[in-house]
């Protein structure tokens, strides 16, 4: 029972990553691996700033800005230099590994000695664990509303149309290079903020903390879509956030049931592979039924 609050809290902090992955994977129709680098980038930048004496809230904004730059680099590689999006993301991700080491100066930074957004403002009778839940929820609601608004504007609609049909949107006068770069920028800003928040909540930033984040993001997106629907953009955003929480719950449950933590990534990869192959399996089953 005492796992419920931390599970939801972690789910909320990681849901910003899930929204970021949703924006590239579903809205732009690009599998963007930059997140594997921009997640630890957000953590590294926030940690370095905070250890340098910066306000932890401000540090999150600096992290977001760093994430934006990472997204722009990938966007530039895949639009202006015509490198396939998947490879562009891998290149940025690999480059960011070195960048992150430079930012932190070493492979791991502890944040236990400095104030974080969760310790900065204390509310009487609210424990640190509950503060993570409260602040996490506030940030996620704010981000969700902001995303819903932005993707409903003329620029946001152009980005959505770019992922859906680039021919159509170009025929209507929109530069798809710009919309793709903008989408990657927003996505990676959210991912970096997620990294910054997770680092602050867990008390450290680590150069290896990005490994597998794309798969975690995809798992959250797919679980959310299957369980909570995809009727509209608003519905999708809520689904993805809830999907992130459900993913954390699933992980907590399988760990409780005795699965070795080392197998977590394997488990997640199998989960995502199974979910992604579901449409094909369903079609095959249907065909067999029709044949009978």
């Amino acid at each position: 029972m005492d796992l419920i609050i931390p599970t939801i809290s972690q789910g909320l902090l990681w849901s910003l990553l899930a929204i970021g992955v949703y924006i590239t994977f579903r809205v732009l129709d690009i599998a963007d691996l930059t997140v594997e680098g921009s997640f630890p980038l957000g953590a590294a930048v926030a940690a370095a700033c905070m250890l340098g004496g910066m306000n932890p809230v401000l540090a999150i904004f600096v992290a977001a800005f760093a994430g934006m730059l990472a997204g722009v680099v990938t966007g530039f590689l895949c639009t202006k230099l015509k490198i396939p999006a998947l490879l562009a993301g891998i290149l940025t991700m690999i480059a960011l590994y070195s960048v992150n080491l430079h930012v932190m100066g070493k492979a791991n930074l502890s944040l236990l000695q400095v104030d974080t957004v969760f310790t900065l403002y204390s509310i009487p009778d609210v424990t640190l664990g509950n503060m993570v839940l409260v602040i996490g929820a506030a940030v996620v609601v704010f981000t969700g509303v902001l995303c819903y608004w932005f993707f409903g504007t003329e620029i946001g609609a152009s980005i959505r149309a770019t992922g859906c049909n680039p021919h159509m949107i170009r025929a209507n006068g929109i530069n798809t290079d710009i919309t793709i770069i903008l989408g990657l920028l927003i996505s990676n800003a959210l991912v970096a903020v997620s990294g910054a928040l997770v680092a602050q909540a867990n008390g450290f930033a680590d150069v290896g903390m990005g490994v597998g984040t794309i798969v975690i993001g995809l798992a959250s997106v797919i679980i959310g879509e299957v369980l909570f629907g995809t009727r509209s953009f608003k519905n999708c955003l809520i689904s993805v956030i809830l999907g992130s929480i459900v993913y954390r719950a699933v992980i907590a449950i399988v760990l409780q049931m005795g699965m070795p933590p080392n197998d977590l990534k394997l488990f997640t990869a199998i989960l995502v592979a199974a979910a992604l192959s579901m449409p094909l399996c369903q079609a095959k089953l249907k065909k067999r039924k029709v044949a009978e």
Binding site: T153, E154, G156, A157, R160, N165, M168, I169, N172
Partner: protein, 264 residues
């Protein structure tokens, strides 16, 4: 309205798949001209359209629309002047977005997008009024996703979107070819209504010779990257398919491969 001067295009130059698609095409359209374009497979019809639309840059020559040289402009910047309907009904609309959202994007063609709300309630009445003449009942389905529509409905919607902001030039690239005959006839009728009532300068590719003769005030036939036949006015009105085939044989010095063109 449209001035094309000696445009040339070769795909994959210097390779084994080299293909000379346009060998110097010049074309002058007056405002309100409705030109049908015919020609066999590989004649350069679609290449001509795409050269005008800016899908690629031409190797030589000049394209001017309404006095503005667009030869070097990228595709999205030409959209301000050009409305387009594609052969593939999937290409003109965004399937995952609502009818209303698609119309909202089309209603701003050529404008820079802002942070204003994309599909405000206030525009709905206008969209309904625009959709009504299509007689497809789409005015009651503004919030439906376009992906749920049939190919004919999507082409009709694309046609509306392409002409919502009045284009200086309307490009129709075999826009009825992928539809069944009945739907194709309906979309063609709609095309005639829109183009004729608003006197839009239009280039329409068709592979149907009868449509090419019955629509518009001018007809051009492309062959091997050149304009082979160009008839307009009364001469076009009295033209029959037989005449057209005879003209082709005389001009090209060979018999027209009728597989490539529908004679009926």
């Amino acid at each position: 309205m449209l001035n094309i001067e000696n445009i040339k295009k070769t795909f994959n130059p210097g390779t084994i798949t080299e293909k000379v698609a346009l060998r110097g095409v010049s074309l002058h359209l007056k405002p309100g001209d409705f030109v049908t374009v015919i020609g066999g497979n590989g004649a350069g019809k679609s290449t001509l359209m795409n050269a005008i639309a800016g899908t690629f840059k031409v190797d030589a020559g000049k394209i001017v629309i309404d006095g503005k040289d667009i030869t070097k402009l990228p595709e999205h910047k030409r959209a301000k002047y050009i409305g387009r309907v594609f052969q593939d009904p999937m290409m003109g609309t965004a399937a995952n977005m609502q009818i209303e959202e698609n119309l909202a994007i089309a209603s701003r063609r050529g404008q820079f997008p802002t942070l204003r709300w994309s599909a405000p309630e206030a525009q709905r009445a206008y969209f309904r009024e625009q959709l009504k003449p299509l007689n497809l009942g789409l005015e009651d389905r503004l919030e439906s996703k376009v992906g749920l529509l049939s190919g004919g409905q999507r082409q009709a919607l694309t046609l509306l979107m392409a002409t919502m902001v009045e284009p200086k030039l309307l490009l129709l690239d075999e826009h009825t070819a992928a539809l069944d005959p009945k739907t194709a006839a309906q979309v063609l009728e709609l095309t005639n209504n829109i183009v004729n009532s608003r006197k839009l300068t239009t280039l329409m590719i068709t592979h149907n010779m009868r449509d090419a003769l019955s629509c518009g005030n001018r007809l051009i036939m492309l062959h091997e990257g050149r304009i082979l036949i160009d008839v307009s006015g009364d001469e076009k009105k009295s033209l029959t398919i037989k005449d057209l085939l005879a003209m082709f044989e005389k001009a090209a010095g060979s018999e027209l491969n009728s597989d490539a063109l529908l004679l009926s």
